[in-house]
């Protein structure tokens, strides 16, 4: 693990919408792993997310109205950059990621001089992915993502990512909702950013996005082309 001093310019950005029950545990877990700069973007929650996150020690920025996960990540990334971040980590607020994966991913970014490290559930056997997701939904989504972005990834729509400062200035998330997970690989390809995947563990509490969610993402991407 990196020392706290080495972590000084590393910011973790967590988008959170009505996560009061889980966000405190996620933040404490990150502190325990030595990460000190944690930004929680409260996306207009109607519960106590902001209060819980603040009490847990995170820097909280709040959207006046619910704008979506993509919008929250962009807001958090911009704040981190304005505060002098050298490395920015996107991390989920529902506790599905393992904080112990961050150090290795950051080390990979630094030692290999990459711009982006993307988390993948398929590079080791730790994630217990539900059968339907593993055998049908994710392979189809992976194929669609490859067709749309040109980036061949072993995983798809994994919210764990590490960005260098350079990458955070090039990548601009315009997709406010969930389609940012497709938009980001497309921009990595477009701006010729150096990238790699890193094995991360995902713990499943809820089924996540199903077919309907996937169709909404495709529709958002389609509308996005007319901006």
């Amino acid at each position: 693990m990196d020392t706290p001093k080495a972590n000084a310019d590393i910011f973790i950005v967590i988008p959170a919408y009505n996560e009061a029950e889980r966000i405190g545990r996620v933040i404490r877990g990150l502190f325990e792993h030595g990460w000190k700069k944690i930004i929680v973007v409260d996306d207009g929650s109607s519960d106590a997310t902001m209060m819980v996150a603040r009490e847990a020690g995170a820097l909280v920025i709040r959207h006046g109205s619910n704008r979506g996960q993509g919008a929250s990540l962009q807001t958090g990334t911009e704040l981190a950059r304005n505060l002098g971040a050298d490395v920015i980590i996107h991390f989920d607020g529902d506790g599905q990621f393992n904080a112990s994966d961050i150090a290795g991913a950051v080390a990979k970014l630094k030692t290999e001089q990459l711009d982006v490290v993307l988390g993948s559930r398929f590079l080791d056997g730790r994630s217990r992915i539900p059968w339907l997701k593993r055998t049908i939904l994710l392979p189809v989504a992976r194929w669609i993502n490859y067709a749309l972005t040109g980036l061949k990834l072993s995983d798809v729509h994994n919210g764990f990512r590490v960005l260098s400062r350079r990458a955070s200035t090039r990548i601009c998330i315009n997709q406010d909702r969930m389609a940012h997970n497709t938009e980001i690989p497309a921009q990595i390809k477009k701006y010729h950013l150096a990238w790699a995947e890193y094995p991360v563990e995902v713990i499943y509490f809820e089924p996540g996005q199903g077919v309907a969610g996937g169709l909404t993402i495709l529709w958002d991407l389609f509308l996005g082309t007319f901006r």
């Binding site: 920025i61 704008r67 962009q74 807001t75 911009e78 704040l79 406010d176 901006r227």
Partner: protein, 114 residues
């Protein structure tokens, strides 16, 4: 027929509304012209139903009424689509505004704490 009179009255009201919106600055001259042309053509079709025959013949559709339904459907789809794109743009503008406010407030708080 009564329906023809009612429809033409409705179209006239629509034209008056377009002119008022143009005078009020809500519509550009081009948009006002297109809308007036649209309602006038709709009036012609209602007043002289046989006029659609030429259009149908040109498009290769059997009946004039069918040609109007096809064109109306295509027009409606186009309008709905345009509206959706516009709503999407507005949504992006709201996000930009919300982000700007959030960042300003957060940075102000950080400065105060220092």
């Amino acid at each position: 027929m009564l329906i023809q009179i009612l429809l033409i009255l409705f179209f006239l009201l629509a034209i008056i509304k377009v002119i008022r919106r143009y005078q009020g600055g809500d519509l550009t001259r081009r948009a006002a012209f297109i809308w007036i042309l649209f309602w006038v053509l709709a009036g012609v079709v209602v007043a002289l139903p046989d006029s659609t025959f030429y259009l149908a013949h040109m498009l290769g559709v059997g009946r004039g009424a069918d040609a109007i339904v096809y064109i109306a459907l295509a027009g409606l789809f186009f309008l709905v689509f345009r509206l959706m794109v516009r709503v999407e743009r507005l949504t992006k503008d709201i996000t930009r505004f919300v982000r700007h406010e959030a960042l300003a407030e957060a940075e102000k708080k950080i400065t105060e704490q220092k």
